[in-house]
Symmetry: none
């Protein structure tokens, strides 16, 4: 149960569409069930620093099978996972990374979006994760 390139490219296209609606410029990354990069797009003029963040958000969501922002809640000072970001060659634990599930509910990959506010990042990732 692994995402196909065709599905990954639909997710990227959905993310681009939503980004244009919101008038934002995003980096959109899709990783497969093994957390390997499968599809990626950087919209024209999107932040350069967000390339790596989008990829790390997707990886983070698949590494722990939950939204990246959920991990961030636990990774605050005093939280149970404080500074977990130092593992796995760097995690990103604020919103914008979401696991991808097939019809049976199996996790088949993850999407990560970066380029605007975390609210917009999460909105684009959510829309993309539901349209493939």
């Amino acid at each position: 149960m692994n995402i196909s390139l065709e599905q990954a490219q639909k997710i990227v296209a959905a993310g681009e569409k939503k980004s244009k609606e919101l008038d934002v410029k995003m980096n959109i990354a899709v990783v497969d069930a093994g957390a390997n990069l499968t599809a990626f797009a950087r919209m024209n003029g999107a932040w350069l620093g967000s390339v790596d963040i989008a990829i790390k958000k997707a990886e983070t969501a698949r590494y722990f099978d939950m939204n990246s922002g959920e991990i961030g809640k636990l990774a605050q000072p005093g939280g149970s996972l404080y500074n977990i970001e130092h593992s796995n060659n760097g995690l990103i634990t604020f919103p914008g990374g979401i696991p991808l599930k097939n019809k049976d509910g199996d996790i088949i990959g993850a999407v990560g979006v970066s380029g605007s506010t975390v609210d917009n990042d999460h909105a684009v990732a959510s829309f993309a994760a539901e349209n493939f």
Copy 2:
């Protein structure tokens, strides 16, 4: 005074046993007195991101001869070891890493567990550290 592979494998087996009792899927790492990986097991379906965390917890516990969570208390903002996680190619300072002692109390290695809540991680590591 160093842990043997036979001891390390008993620790891993004890960790697996405890994990099944708790119905959790863990990554379990044992390092020796030199903080070198000695035995490792990833239970079927355990989080991908926890491979590295389990190893880093074990390393952290042996690097400083204390439970990884004890270091975490000192590594909070304002604490004496704030952001110590940047050293040694990445530390993990929340619970789940425990030094291993022989009968004489000498530290002969450490165990690190990751894959569930930090409470479960620590419970599995504690059980493993006491049964070898």
Copy 3:
């Protein structure tokens, strides 16, 4: 003068098309004029290790504005650029990375392909670089 996402996605699509003709499974990466990842696709079942190699080939071609294989000729033992691969967080200097030029001959990015023999990798990259 920088490649657009639309151009980058055409390059990826051209690379996929050529790969299917050759019956090979490729990783295809496009970087922009600043050597930043712009579009990426991993064809279903392509080698896991080629994700990083495809990206590094594209980066290498743009870092030095020549085909990755040209650098490899100079990077052999005794050559003028021996072991240049240690720079820039890792280069790949065998064929499969090609600079991308606009109508005026300006370099606007690069493409990197990995997943088969270097001859096939280069053939796919060449086709992609000429069709966007």
Copy 4:
């Protein structure tokens, strides 16, 4: 189609058995289909530097679905994959890494062995790969 921990531990045990027959001290690593560490053992007194090499051999074999030594033949000076070792955070391309296949011939992981001559490393990996 992924290796189970039970299979991975059988591979490690087979590797240990063969190592004792040959009177060598090995590090034995098993990665799953996603190239994630699944089981590991360092025999008492085995070279410290071989921990990382055993893991990298297993990763390398799975990254490209062939024996690590096969890649090494192509990675010599003047060869088509010269200095490929700079990719993927470091490859090891001499013998000792072997893909693992199930009954249907699907690759479900890889084993990597390091601690003696490359002939012994390969012999132990071969025996382990055939006995699980």
